[in-house]
Amino acid sequence: MTFPIMTTIVLAPIIGALIIMFIPEKEDQIIKITAAAATFVSLVLAIFAFLNYDTKVGGLQFLQDIPWVEAFGITYSVGVDGISLPLVLLTAIVIFTGVFASWDMHNRVKEFFITLLVLVAGVFGVFVSRDLFFFYLFFEVAVIPMYLLIAIWGSTRKEYSAMKLTLYLLVGSAFALIGIIAMFLYAAQPEHLGIRTFDIAQLSLVNYDIAFQKFIFFLFMVGFGFLVPMWPLHTWSPDGHVAAPTATSMLHAGVLMKLGGYGLIRAGIFIFPEGAKFWAPLIAVLCIVNVVYGAMVAMRQKDLKFVIGYSSVSHMGYVLLGIASLNTLSINGAVAQMFAHGIMTALFFSLVGNIYHKAHTRTISEFGGLAHQMPRVAAGFVIAGLASLGLPGLNNFVAEFLIFVGSFSVDKVLFGWLHFRVLSILAILGVVITAVYVLRVVQFTFFGPRNPKWDHLEDAKGIELVPVVILIATLLLFGLFPQPLIGMINTGVVPLVEKINAAAQVGGIF
């Protein structure tokens, strides 16, 4: 039997959490080290898997199956392909750096790290599950700790935001659950599969009739749309970002939102290509609202975290555009964008956390000239900002470029008058607006004359720099040498696009 690498990635944080339970509350240094060690194990294994994934073979690798409730065909089955493995790596990087970004945590340290580790185990679980039951289960495992993390350790309207986030996510998952159960029952009918199974690969073999596809994809679109978040289901996300403590914001924006895009690709497009084709125009239009509207709203925010929160809404719009364009390049770009955005936004939040922890405010107008006191933070923030506005040399550019090229090559007219290319041009316009708000924030926060009020702020140093350095290095690595990442994603995207192309054209909505 081979080493169960994916299971270990999921279990390592849980084991870490269990160990922390037995560490006395006052030994917070040991607790932090344990958390770092546990997530380090996941990180090393994720990197190992990334390096050892055979892109020539492609498909699902690092498999493991343990039947669980055989009567319902529920199997604990894990494995990753070119789409999920980068997201596993993303999660591992973000949580590892997130632990270091929480090094200054002093309030209920023990409970904080236990909750955080359980949360991340859930996220890992979603990405490695090949069984929809476990997919859903792990998702719920991730949502509840999120509530606790925000409600207990958060700031700015934390109860409201925590409740809002949890309700939105649960409503979203309820939609998805209905879809999953309906699909399960449909497939179990004797004229289809005739067996009860939650296995994604098997479920994807069924010939669902068009009406059913349209219905289920709609449920998934709404359900996962809450997560992504797709306009107008997005308002939980900026509030949640703002209220959450640093590491949680990092995980939330960095990884949790990607569960939506991932679910939409894995459970949505892969199983219901016709349904996807039918609803894609609607997603395409809404995602442009995400991009442009999100960026415009970001421009008017007064709180650093709100800016980043709305910028995430805007950037996740690109992921949706990539998905809605339904071709190889665009979906490659969508997955790459999930990865790149995750790293970039984690970097943003770790830096803002650093400032907030020392200055006890995030209101942009109170700052100015912070580059005098915090040159390293300023440099990191500028780099994150440049990634955000899609500067070549950083990972996000590659992703956005693929999405733009992919969507640009869609030769379709929506609703009888709206050429798809108009949407991609609007999306590209989003990059210009992004430049405006990012540079404004950079200017108003970091540039300008020295403000003696902030002279007591210390620049990031020592352990605080760990997340900054790792995240920037990742952005640069895949920005300068994108082939390893994109090549891997492509192995997962090609079979998906083959399915889309084989599917009948259903004309599209409206």
């Binding site: 070549p392 693929l402 540039f447």
Partner: protein, 625 residues
Amino acid sequence: MFWIDNAWLIPIFPAIAFVLIIFVTKKVKMLSALTALAAMATSMMFSIGILFTILGSHGEINMNAPIEYSVPWLTIPGVHITAGVLIDPLTAVMLCVVTIVAFLVQLYSVGYMADDPGFSRFFAYLSLFTFSMLGLVVANNYFQMFFFWELVGLCSYLLIGFYFYKNSAADANKKAFVTNRVADFGFMIGIFFLWLVFGTFNFQELAHAIEGYGNVGFLTLVAVLVFIGPVGKSAQFPLHVWLPDAMEGPTPVSALIHAATMVAAGVYLLARGFVLFNAAPSALLLIAYIGGFTSIFAASIAIVQDDIKRILAFSTLSQLGYMVMAMGVGSITAGMFHLTTHAFFKALLFLGAGSAIHAVHSNSIFDMGGLYKNMKTTTWTFVIGSLALAGIFPLAGFWSKDEILLVTKEGGFTGLYIIGTIVAFLTAFYMFRLIFTAFFGEKRSDHHAHESPWTMTVPLMVLAVFAIFIGFVGAPFVEHGFASLIYFGEPHHATPDYFLMISSTLIALAGIVLAWYMYGKKAVDTEALKQRFLPIWTLLYNKYYIDEVYQWFFDKIVLNIGNAFNWTDRKVVDGIADGFSDLIRATGARLRFVQTGSMQTYALVLFAAVVLIVLWMAVPVLGGM
């Protein structure tokens, strides 16, 4: 062939210098400067090596038969992107211009920036810039071009904002970046269209594909879109607004990036992708007129400015307009020739201006005056640069400017020819207005001007030599000169047009004489003149209020759209969601009273329900309604 085979190293050297300065030598100032200079010198040596290899190949390596090699950068089904090197005379000339000017500017900066606490940071940024610029120059495809195009934009941003503690600098670098972003938006869409139709980004492959492509309308659209990129980068009207503000950066940066090299990248792109523009005649015409308009528009502003760097900045706009105009009338020879000569004399002028500012601690020419007494080298090199810019025989600008005027005249663009001639007059006038005011006459403020250290004066002298002699490479009587190296299609050897030469020289001299008459001899009361034409003067001084229009558009339109969306998000989108949750909560609160636990209430409700149901069922039976 050694030099050409290793041409890919040319951008790499400054990249290494950048990394070394950031991570190793940052604390030791002189080591940082030495690292940057050593890298630059090596790149310069390679570039000159390439130029001589091409000259020695007796035409084997020419514009139609370049040497190209590449490595894959990103390959997935549907898109194949390479990182490559394309070597032809155009690349070689541009490489030499960039590396030589960059080397001299860096040397100059050792003196100019000596007391700056950000010394190492400055050299790191300059190295990053040269890396990006050289990467752009050697690019063999539009993708790579765009990649480095954005990176030079970043370096420009970083260097304009070098004094980030000045609010004006922080405003200026944001303006520069955003304006260029707007331009790159068009450029990017243009590239996407090219890729969509031809399936490649590669210059050579595109050139072949475009030649056999018939849809001129499409090519025109693409050419115009791609041209928007140069409109931003080379600061052509109406996206010129960022360049004058970019003078907030340290003066060596203005010389290198915002005069000699980066802003010329747009012109270089026009030359590199000329096949596309040539295939779209109406796009080419647009380019010619945009260039011509920019040249006269900017020159008219320059005659009333009083900030020495701003005068030079508007002069740069105007000269870039010349180059773009030359491209537009179909002569990449003339455009690139002027780019080359301009790079040297404009860098010289900026560095000279820096030397003067360094001494006087003011940017205003009216605070200077009489600098020649204590700053001999600066003054005389500045005069040489100005004569070259004004196009006085036999200095560099004379040859290249005449060639541009010649191609407009020969091409039958009489309007552009007249504009070009007027610009030549204005150029001579504003440059010598500056010289007579700042360098001669009496001292106007309490400055203690002194000559700059050798690291600053030596680059001035070297550039002055270039400003005098570089024009001969393209002079009409020189065989195997510039025209036989850089051309589109077939080399076009200009025959000397003596009427044009003499007339343009006389016009330039007239500008100088007028400037002397007004500002040297002071025979005219300039203040009275200003009062008399005050509306015009105000309009020019305020740059035709274009910045204000843009600012108004951003403040009143863009930000208010942001406000409207923000309000919508909070009140409408979120309001509906919150309203929904309030509704559920309120319903719950009401429903709570239903479960009173009182038997009588339950019985009453039950009875009422039964009655209602019976009635409802009875309706059809009773035949009512």
